[in-house]
Structures are given as structure tokens and as C-alpha cells.
């Protein structure tokens, strides 16, 4: 078992703590940071499904599920938000397990295509189940976690805490027997099965954990913007979560968070270009795929990483 990279963590925490102190006065900057942290948390889940060798494009669907669970519990039943958040994470994970059990039998592009369709299906359910979700007009006036002068700062630290806990949890998973089993599934499911690994159970576990992260992130985002619509998470969000992992680097647990930060920040920084914003963004992303096939984290010590390969 590898030792926990304390130095890197310390540096990251320092950066994350210092950054808001500089920008605390700008609510726009805080909004961007909070969004990036939440997206990082959701991407972390997708990273887990990458580690079992599946490309999951359904995280948007579970963001929606988590968001709606929180929205409904908070507005209809008036439950405290802490319970709502927990319910969102657990509920999404359970739904993920139920949905994952059949669809994880699919492999490769079939799995990816189906998860993509799942995102679209979730949007359509939210749109059509008017009695529960309010249809196209969504659910508004969701209470928020923190009020007062430093609400953004407090929310930022709360989200950051969850992100750090999430990374620590995934790091721990990745470096114990469970992580080895996940990587074995990535290499060859049949071989893993022949060694006595219950592949169906483990891949559902990985997918369900992923959905839990997705639900938690979706709930956080819902609380942050205090509203949810069927279009709050779309197919392009689902693909972005996947691209965050990829750009950050599939070889490291820190990849998804880094990718989310860079991509989200990058997209915001391109906003002066107006109509060309997403065009430049997409071009840069393709360029990044061409010149950095192993992600941003592969930039340091390229030789060692090249021989070691992805996860």
C-alpha cells in the first residue's frame, strides 16, 4: 500500500484555502470556485467507473436524481438539508445499483451509448413526471445551507471539505484490495471472474459509488442555485464529467478534481469571446487530447508515467 501523498495534499489545501481569501470579495469568483469543486466531486465518481474500465456518460442523470431528491424533500417535507444531502447520496447510489445491475452487463461503446441515453431518459422523466417534479417549470425556492454575509465562503469550505473527503475515500479505495479488484475488472473481466472475483457485485459497487457521488454533487448544486429544472443536467454535462477525468488524468485520484477546475475555469475565462466561447473551448479540448493523451497530471515526470500507463 502506497503512503498517502501528504505533501501534495498539504499544498492543495493551502492553495484552496488561500485562493478564496484573495477572492472572497468577488461573489463571481466564489461562484466559479464552488461550481468547480462540486463538478470535481461528481467527476470523482466517474473516475471510479473509469477504474473498472467503463466509460460512464450517465453522471448527469444521477445529478438530476440527487438534485430532485433534495429539492422534493426540502420543499415538500421540509426536512433539514443535511438529511436531504444524505438522502440524495444514498438514494442515487441505490437507484444506481438497481439500474447498474442490468446495464453493466454491456461493455465498451455499448455501455457508453446506453449511459448517454440514460441521461436523456432522466431528463425526459423529470420533464414528464409533472406530479412529482413539477415538469418544465422545475422546483424553485429551495432553502440554502448557509445564510449571512459569508454564505459563499462557508458553502465553499463545506463543498471543499466534501471534495477532500471524497478524494481521500477514493484514494483509499484505489489503494486497497478493492482498488486492485477494480483494476482487474478493467484488465479482463473474464480472467478476474476465473480467479473467483464476483465481477457483477464489484462492478455494481463501483457504479453505485459513482452514482452516490453524482447524487451528492447534484444535491449540492441544487442547494447552491436554489432551483432545479429537467435541463439542470444535460447530456453535455454528462460528457463534461467524463472529459474532466480524462483531461485531469486517469492515472491519479486527483485527476478529476484538477480536470474539473481547469475545464470549468477555462470555460469561464473564455467568456469574453462570446459566441466563439464554446468553439474555442472544444478546439482546445481536442488539442489537449492530441498532445496530452494521458491528462494534465502526466505533465510531470513524463518518462515514468509513460512506462507505467494509465491506471
Amino acid at each position: 500500500m502506497k503512503t498517502f501523498p501528504w505533501l501534495l495534499i498539504l499544498a492543495l489545501v493551502l492553495v484552496f484555502l488561500l485562493v478564496p481569501l484573495v477572492f472572497a470579495s468577488s461573489s463571481y469568483a466564489m461562484t466559479v470556485l464552488i461550481n468547480a469543486a462540486i463538478l470535481g466531486l461528481m467527476s470523482l465518481g466517474v473516475w471510479l467507473t473509469f477504474s473498472i474500465g467503463r466509460i460512464n456518460i450517465s453522471q448527469g442523470a444521477f445529478g438530476l436524481i440527487g438534485g430532485y431528491i433534495t429539492a422534493i424533500l426540502a420543499t415538500r417535507f421540509g426536512l433539514p438539508l443535511w438529511i436531504c444531502l444524505l438522502a440524495s447520496a444514498v438514494g442515487s447510489a441505490l437507484i444506481g445499483a438497481v439500474v447498474g445491475l442490468p446495464i453493466l452487463r454491456l461493455r465498451g461503446v455499448y455501455f457508453s451509448m446506453l449511459t448517454l441515453s440514460l441521461t436523456e431518459a432522466a431528463r425526459l422523466v423529470a420533464l414528464n413526471a409533472t406530479a412529482i417534479t413539477g415538469g418544465a417549470s422545475g422546483i424553485l425556492n429551495i432553502p440554502t445551507l448557509f445564510t449571512g454575509d459569508n454564505a459563499y465562503l462557508e458553502l465553499y469550505f463545506f463543498v471543499l471539505l466534501l471534495l477532500v473527503l471524497g478524494i481521500a475515500a477514493v484514494w483509499r479505495i484505489n489503494n486497497t484490495r478493492l482498488g486492485k479488484i477494480f483494476r482487474a475488472l478493467q484488465q479482463d473481466e473474464n480472467l478476474a471472474s476465473s480467479f473467483g472475483v464476483d465481477i457483477a457485485a464489484y462492478r455494481v459497487l463501483a457504479f453505485s459509488l459513482c452514482c452516490g457521488f453524482g447524487g451528492l454533487g447534484g444535491a449540492l448544486l441544487t442547494i447552491f442555485v436554489q432551483s432545479i429544472y429537467p435541463t439542470s443536467f444535460t447530456v453535455s454535462d454528462s460528457t463534461n464529467f467524463m472529459l474532466n477525468c480524462f483531461l485531469g488524468g486517469l492515472g491519479s485520484v486527483f485527476g478529476p478534481a484538477l480536470g474539473a477546475l481547469v475545464l470549468f475555469l477555462g470555460f469561464q475565462l473564455l467568456s469574453p469571446f462570446g459566441a466563439y466561447q464554446s468553439l474555442i473551448y472544444a478546439s482546445l479540448m481536442i488539442l489537449a487530447m492530441l498532445i496530452l493523451p494521458n491528462g494534465l497530471l502526466s505533465l510531470r515526470l513524463p518518462k515514468r508515467r509513460a512506462s507505467q500507463g494509465v491506471p
Partner: protein, 329 residues
């Protein structure tokens, strides 16, 4: 009649659940349509004709994406976006510049084929040479879809675009109304699909494509120029998407944001049929088209696709390789 009553009861229950707010009108319309379905063949003919017409064009799309998959082992995530490009080229050439429809279709085919060629030559080939991992090429495919989406938005704007009738008039047959433009689209689509299949089956380049689809290495060992034909195959598959777009813009409208959803349609077709199999692509295209035609007739708004997507998931649980696909693993 007994069946009809059961059906009505069932629909009452689901309707209660889904359209709580607009229950009365929705239900009335639904009731009427259901009664029509059960007691007369009249509307059913129309629905089936609609499905057939739509299916012929969907077939082009499914053949294109399945060709690219068979040859490159790449799932073309930008297929729907290519369809949108084809639609907009026809919109400009035929709708705005008033050139003949044939010219517009050729322009659509050419433009999208060039896009496909450039993608293969400058994006997929370098990446695939460096890594054989499925993930890398798939992520690149997703990236190209994002790229085309944003290009379409910049070039074409956000408006929904349609073109004037290619041919005016309606043909009334067996209780169904078929506009001549739909009939034209149907005929052209079938002709193109037959032409494509004949090309792949009976010509030398077609044989090279089939050889590559069967086994890339062996084909190369037997002197097939794999690099050339990969680019050609990608361009050909893309061209079919462009043609489908150009054809369908004359009966439906097109907008720059439709790409993603159209891609999902294309995926649905080949997931039903089985990826990389020609017969599967055709079966999948027609099944989706009929499901869509029937669904849009009986259900409001976005319900049909919800049911189609949920049905797809259930179907794939029982047959993950599709109807015609080969079992893997």
C-alpha cells in the same frame, strides 16, 4: 372491445400519474385516438406510412454510423451533428440560394464527407496510431461532437430552419395522406441505401471496406491500403449522415442544437439492431421510426422518447448485443 377497455384503464392510470395538471384535455385526446385505433384502420395506415417514410431516412443514418463502427471501431458520437450540418447545407443551397434540390443534396453529401475525411485524417488516425485503447478514441469522438456542436451554433445560429416544399401536393392512398415531398424523400432514401449496399457488395472499394471490417491486419497483409480506405470509409459514413440531414430538412426542420439528440437516435438504432451489422442497422432504423411514429401519434410531447429509451434499456438487458449483433466476451 375487451382489450380496448383494459388498454383504456391502463392509460388512465399512467395518465393520472404523469399529467396530473393537464389531465382533462390530454385524456380526452388520448381516449379519442385510442378509440380510433381500435375501431378503424384509418389512422393506423397513416401512422404506419409515417413510420415507413421516416424509417427510410433513418436507415441512411444507421448505415453510416454502423459503417464507421465496423471499419474504424469508432463510435461516431458526432453523427447527429453531421446530420445537422447536412441539413443546414441543404437549407442554404436549396432554401436560401434557390438552387435545385439535387444540387443541395450533393452539396450536403460533399461537405459532410469532407468533414468526415478531415476527422479521420487529422484526429482519429494520429490518436489511434498512438494508442489502441478504446477509451482514447471514444473520448476523441465525444470531443469532435462538442466541436461540431459549437461550430454549428456559430455558423447557423439558434433558429429552427425549414425549406419550402420541394414538390407541392398530397397523395391520398388507402386512407393515408402522403405529401409528395415525403414520397420523394422516401424514394431517394431507398435508392441511396440500395446504391450503398450494392457498392459495398459488388465493387472493388466496397470489398476492401468489407475486408477491413472483417479483419484489419489480414486485409493489410493482403495488400488493401488500410489507411486510404479507413479515410474513405469514414467519409462515406459521414456522407450518409449528411444526406439524411439534407433529405429530412425538406420534411422536418433542423436546428443547430439538434445534433446531440439525433446522435442518441442513431445510437438507439444500432443498439437495437447490433453495431457493425448492416441488417441490424436497417432493422433498428425501421423499428425506431415505427416506434416514433406510433408514439408521437398517441402520446404528447416528449413521452414517446422516454418510453423508447426505457424500452431500449429493458431490451438490452435481455439481448445486450442487439437483434443481429454478434455476442461478445
Amino acid at each position: 372491445v375487451g382489450k380496448a377497455i383494459v388498454l383504456r384503464f391502463f392509460i388512465f392510470i399512467t395518465a393520472d400519474f404523469f399529467w396530473f395538471s393537464q389531465k382533462t384535455t390530454e385524456l380526452l385526446v388520448l381516449e379519442l385516438r385510442l378509440i380510433n385505433l381500435v375501431f378503424s384502420r384509418f389512422y393506423m395506415t397513416q401512422v404506419l406510412v409515417n413510420g415507413l417514410m421516416l424509417g427510410s431516412t433513418y436507415m441512411l443514418m444507421a448505415l453510416g454510423i454502423t459503417l464507421i463502427f465496423a471499419i474504424m471501431n469508432v463510435m461516431n458520437f458526432a453523427h447527429g451533428q453531421m446530420y445537422v450540418f447536412g441539413g443546414f447545407v441543404t437549407y442554404y443551397v436549396f432554401g436560401q440560394w434557390h438552387l435545385p434540390f439535387v444540387v443541395a443534396l450533393l452539396a450536403s453529401a460533399l461537405v459532410v464527407a469532407v468533414i468526415g475525411f478531415l476527422f479521420e485524417r487529422f484526429l482519429f488516425r494520429p490518436v489511434m496510431r498512438r494508442s489502441n485503447r478504446e477509451e482514447t478514441t471514444m473520448l476523441l469522438a465525444v470531443g469532435t461532437a462538442l466541436l461540431l456542436d459549437s461550430v454549428a451554433l456559430v455558423l447557423f445560429g439558434e433558429k429552427q430552419r425549414g425549406v419550402p416544399d420541394v414538390i407541392a401536393g398530397v397523395w391520398q392512398v388507402a386512407g393515408a395522406f402522403i405529401p409528395y415531398r415525403r414520397l420523394l424523400v422516401f424514394g431517394v432514401s431507398i435508392a441511396l441505401a440500395v446504391g450503398f449496399l450494392a457498392f459495398v457488395q459488388f465493387t472493388r472499394p466496397g470489398r476492401a471496406l468489407r475486408a477491413i471490417a472483417q479483419d484489419r491486419e489480414t486485409a493489410a497483409a493482403h495488400g488493401v491500403d488500410v489507411a486510404l480506405y479507413s479515410a474513405f470509409g469514414f467519409a462515406l459514413g459521414a456522407m450518409l449522415a449528411g444526406l439524411a440531414g439534407g433529405l429530412l430538412v425538406s420534411t422536418e426542420a433542423v436546428n443547430a442544437g439538434a445534433g446531440g439528440f439525433t446522435s442518441i437516435k442513431a445510437f438507439t438504432m444500432i443498439m437495437i439492431g447490433g453495431a457493425g451489422v448492416v441488417s441490424g442497422a436497417i432493422a433498428g432504423a425501421f423499428m425506431l421510426a415505427f416506434a416514433e411514429a406510433i408514439g408521437y401519434y398517441f402520446l404528447p410531447g416528449s413521452m414517446p422518447y422516454l418510453i423508447i429509451l426505457v424500452g431500449l434499456i429493458v431490451f438490452l438487458v435481455f439481448r445486450p448485443q442487439g437483434i443481429m449483433g454478434k455476442r461478445w466476451g
